[in-house]
Assembly symmetry: C2
Homo-oligomer: 205 residues x 2
DNA sequence: TGTACATCAGTGAACGCGCGTTCACTGATGTAC
DNA sequence: TGTACATCAGTGAACGCGCGTTCACTGATGTAC
């Protein structure tokens, strides 16, 4: 995607990529329109040919992140089938894997302060992602005796929160809160204990 | 703490309070030195009589937060004694309660990007807080048969991550990720399932 | 194939703004005698 | 109790900076004939 003359060729995506890189490096705070433009080899004013402004650019970065995120979760879910348990665990792992592989997207999605309701497209794709995890939870909840089955939405919220917490606290170098365990192990073991608590896997293994 | 004349009386703390209020309202991004000074009824330059600069002010806000946080956790732990289980659950609940009651502090501590190693005092008090949760986890882990007991540090990391995730995703109005459950219930139920998974509470109740 | 022209995607200069920080200053306070 | 003076905690003006955004412009591209 090198700029070669007056016209860039694919400036829109180049700007998104630049934004993602900057967000990853400096956080959503550190990201500036001007710097993203510079990184893409273009004048700040050029950005306005493709986006309404700074917020709009971040929103697009976030949208692309949710798109990947939803795909990744869906893929993990499908791969775990037909075992509801395997599908559920896989989506949890996929969450963490996504956060580690696409940190810029992750930050744009969850830490940039952009509301998921900023645009209809963003709302739709984030709903799709949440939907996958909720479906996995629902499948799983059918294996629990009906009378003491907690709502599936609660399941998925639990795992979502757990995954997000692990990412924020332990998968970043962030607030010095180093853990003696790698995040993957932490999440895996937590989900293991959790599923045992639901009576979905054998008590000792 | 009203300013009455040329001298303020307690400007240092007034600035911290102003910073906390602004951080709570606008996030760590939205917080500016100048605005905090204005809120305290003082010229931006006056801030430099009490702090080295913007970062230093945030660090102090964070430090005060950790101080309260550690106290709250300690109190919860003590109150749960002598039951290791009660003490452990109480610290988890205390985490969430703190986040809800002191949102400005919480954000300064965990979302402002200030490293816990910024100053020795900050490092010390954050270690104290973490220590309480780790001790609660250790007490609890003694009730698990030794041969299949996971490390206590892992426990506490799990609960810490879960609590943080619940706060970030569901206890804020933030990224439109509304949940049909109140955060307290979410955390309580998740910890319940988790403890059941550890075999520490009865399978069905 | 060649020319005229519309459309598009960039430029570059300029803007107003609020930021963090500095500096010499001055008003208020407290202490020594 | 009163005066002189050191210390302290503020002021207010100024700075340089980089930001997001606007505007009239111009160079490149593609299409019609």
């Amino acid at each position: 995607m090198r700029k070669q003359g007056y016209h860039h060729g694919n400036l829109r995506q180049a700007l998104v990529d630049a934004a993602l890189k900057l967000i990853e490096e400096k956080g959503p705070t550190g990201f500036t329109l001007s710097e993203a433009a510079k990184l893409a080899g273009v004048t700040p004013a050029a950005v306005y040919r493709h986006f309404e402004g700074r917020e709009d650019l971040i929103a697009e970065a976030s949208r692309q992140g949710y798109e990947i995120f939803a795909d990744v979760m869906q893929y993990a879910y499908d791969k775990g089938q037909p075992s509801a348990l395997a599908a559920f665990s896989a989506t949890g792992r996929a969450y963490l894997a996504f956060a580690r592989r696409y940190p810029g997207h992750y930050i744009a999605m969850f830490e940039s302060g952009i509301s998921v309701n900023k645009t209809p497209e963003l709302a739709a794709v984030s709903a799709r992602a949440r939907g996958v995890l909720e479906r996995a939870a629902e499948d799983l909840s059918r294996h629990i005796p009906e009378n003491r089955r907690p709502p599936a939405a609660m399941f998925s919220a639990h795992v979502w929160a757990l995954s997000h917490g692990v990412v924020e606290l332990f998968a970043r170098n962030s607030p010095g809160t180093a853990s003696p365990f790698p995040p993957e192990e932490l999440l895996e073991s937590a989900i293991g204990v959790y599923l045992r608590g639901l009576g979905l896997i054998a008590p000792d293994c």
